[in-house]
Every structure is written in structure tokens, then in C-alpha cells.
């Protein structure tokens, strides 16, 4: 699928469905008639305009991929944010939003890649990695894939059931719980650290391509630790997000 490097101007989209995930997150489908399609891992800019003309723009990763005009976002609320509380609590099917994209030619995965891939998500950093995992499955790719997903608790996770259902010989899933671990979890709750990364990440000798997405602090910790563990810095791709 050709995806031009030219970024579209603002396009009008219509919210088609909203689905709560938990108390602070939901999955939002937006129908964008002129959407050019997206690659797994890309994001878009979303613009809201208030009645008084005030505008706010935020970037959101896209959980879907491919040529469809329906774009899937998963939004986690930052309580002090300006845009995410609206998207999680207020926006309804039929509401209009403006989007620009797709954006991102670096934090993307293509099904012609055969290298082992290690994905590492912190919180809603799972969203672009979800698109990559879905693309890996849709392509029937035999590239070895592993995902580490760090969440406060199981209830805070996005796409938990879908991820579990995708586990097979080519896709491994490792949960890291930071606040509350379910019964039977292999570790007590703790933040991701060098010991976890050393034991769970695909070994540096296999030269995995690593994608890390999460809040800035999470990404810096993980990327720095991976390089210290012997991963090549230019094979660790990162995407950071802030509070919005």
C-alpha cells in the first residue's frame, strides 16, 4: 500500500463508535472519508475546536492500519489534560473531529521485515504496537515477535483479551504489573528494570529490532537499559508521549 510522505491537510472525521475499556480509557472509531490509510505504528494529529474558536491539537497513535477509512484510536485519560478527558468522557458517535495524518515514517513496521521484533509498551504506549501486532498476524509473518506490556494492573490494560488471543509460536506476551499483579503472576508488582529486561527481551545476539513506546520517563529508562544490556542503539526505536 503506498502511503505518501506528504501529510494531508486537516480532514473532517465523524466519530462512529466509542467503547469503554475501563474507567479511564476507551476505544474510539473515527470515519474519515478522505483518509489515505496508514502503516502499522503511525499516528495522527487530532484537533478540537471549542465554540469560542479555541483550538487544541494532540497526537494519538493509531491502533488500526491499512487502507480503511475507519481509524481506530484508544485514548487513556490524563485527568489534568485538555483533550483526553473530552475524548474519554464526552465525545459521542456522530460528533465531528478534525484529523491530520497519517504521520510517522520511523516508528513503523512493514510486513517485508523478517527480523525478530521486540515490542515494549508502557501504559497507552500499547496503541501503535497493537497496530504492529495486528499487522504481523494479518500478514501471517513468521518474524519472531515478543511484547512486554507494562501496566499498573490488568484492569488498566488496553486490548488485554485481544493480545492474549494472538499469542502463538510467533508472538509471545509478557506482562509487567507495576501496582497490582493478578494471582499466579511470575513477579510481585514492580517497575520494569534491567533484571526484567535482561531475562525477557529477545537477546542482543539475535539482533532484534526493538520498538519502545510509553511516557517519556518509561521510554528513557527502557531504552537506556537496553543499550547498557548490549542492544545496538540504532536498533532501538522509541516514541514518547506526554500528558494531554
Amino acid at each position: 500500500m503506498p502511503v505518501a510522505s506528504r501529510v494531508s491537510t486537516w480532514l473532517v472525521g465523524t466519530v462512529s463508535t466509542v467503547q469503554p475499556v475501563n474507567e479511564h480509557a476507551r476505544v474510539i472509531m473515527i470515519e474519515v472519508p478522505d483518509w489515505p490509510g496508514s502503516l502499522p505504528g503511525q499516528h495522527l494529529d487530532l484537533r478540537l475546536t471549542a465554540e469560542d474558536g479555541y483550538q487544541a491539537v494532540r497526537s494519538y497513535s493509531i491502533a488500526s492500519f491499512g487502507p480503511a477509512s475507519r481509524v481506530e484510536l484508544a485514548v487513556d485519560e490524563f485527568p489534568e489534560g485538555e483533550v483526553s478527558p473530552y475524548l474519554v468522557r464526552e465525545v459521542r458517535p456522530g460528533d465531528l473531529v478534525e484529523v491530520r495524518g497519517p504521520i510517522g515514517r520511523y516508528f513503523v513496521w512493514s510486513s517485508d521485515q523478517s527480523d525478530p521484533v521486540q515490542l515494549i509498551a508502557g501504559g497507552s504506549g500499547i496503541v501503535p504496537l497493537m497496530a504492529i501486532v495486528r499487522a504481523h498476524r494479518a500478514a501471517g509473518s513468521a518474524a519472531p515477535f515478543r511484547l512486554i506490556y507494562s501496566v499498573r494492573s490488568r484492569a488498566d490494560a488496553l486490548y488485554a483479551d485481544e493480545l492474549e488471543s494472538l499469542v502463538d509460536e510467533h508472538f509471545g506476551l509478557e506482562w509487567v504489573y507495576t501496582r497490582r499483579a493478578p494471582d499466579g503472576a511470575p513477579r510481585r508488582p514492580r517497575r520494569i528494570d534491567a533484571e526484567i529486561l535482561a531475562s525477557v527481551v529477545i537477546a542482543p545476539t539475535e539482533r532484534p529490532l526493538v520498538y519502545v513506546c510509553g511516557p517519556t520517563g518509561f521510554v528513557e529508562t527502557v531504552a537506556g537499559t537496553l543499550v547498557a544490556l548490549g542492544h545496538e542503539a540504532d536498533r532501538v526505536r522509541t516514541e514518547r508521549f506526554g500528558g494531554a
Binding site: 503506498p2 505518501a4 510522505s5 506528504r6 501529510v7 499516528h43 495522527l44 494529529d45 487544541a56 491539537v57 497526537s59 491530520r100 495524518g101 504521520i103 510517522g104 515514517r105 520511523y106 516508528f107 511516557p215 517519556t216 520517563g217 521510554v219 540504532d234 526505536r237 522509541t238 516514541e239 514518547r240 508521549f241 506526554g242 500528558g243 494531554a244
Partner: protein, 96 residues
């Protein structure tokens, strides 16, 4: 991670070049996230997606992840958009 901006108390997000893709396309017309940039101060080169980007509602600043020098600033608030290139030695853009 969000950090208060001392003068105004506004939030400034310290992110990376992925977040600059949309705004910079307003000026350059293309998605530059995979362009290779070179820092004038320390000569480090890397994909634009990997540089530090400080983003607030009025604009963004790109900094070298190696030496923290400012590479580029883009302010879009107001009637005039202003782009400056204090430390950007070059940009390499590959064809598809």
C-alpha cells in the same frame, strides 16, 4: 513526562521528533520523521524522530539528544509563523 514552564506555569511536554511530524509538515510539506538530521554543535546525526522535542500549545523546540543544543524552533501562535534553525546543520530526506 510533563514539566511546568517556569515563566507561565504552562505545561511543556518533553517528547521526541515523532511528535514534530505533523507541525513540521505545515512548513516542509512532507513527513520528516525519518529524515536524517545533523547537529551543528556536536555533529551527531540521527533520524529526526529521535531528537528531543519540547512541545507546548504555541510551538516546539527541537534539541539534539547528544548535546542538548537547540536545533530548530517553530512558533505557530499568532498571525506569523516563525521557524529558526539555530543548530540544524542539515536534513537528508530519502525518496520513497
Amino acid at each position: 513526562m510533563t514539566q511546568p514552564e517556569p515563566e507561565t506555569g504552562r505545561r511543556v511536554d518533553r517528547l521526541d521528533g515523532n511528535a514534530a511530524g505533523g507541525p513540521l509538515s505545515e512548513i516542509f510539506g512532507v513527513d520528516l520523521t525519518d529524515a536524517i538530521i545533523e547537529c551543528r554543535h556536536c555533529a551527531r546525526s540521527c533520524p529526526l524522530a529521535e531528537v528531543v522535542v519540547e512541545l507546548d500549545p504555541d510551538g516546539l523546540v527541537m534539541r539534539c539528544r547528544g548535546c542538548e543544543h537547540q536545533l530548530l524552533s517553530y512558533v505557530w501562535a499568532g498571525a506569523v509563523r516563525r521557524v529558526r534553525f539555530p543548530g540544524l546543520a542539515g536534513l537528508e530526506i530519502s525518496e520513497d
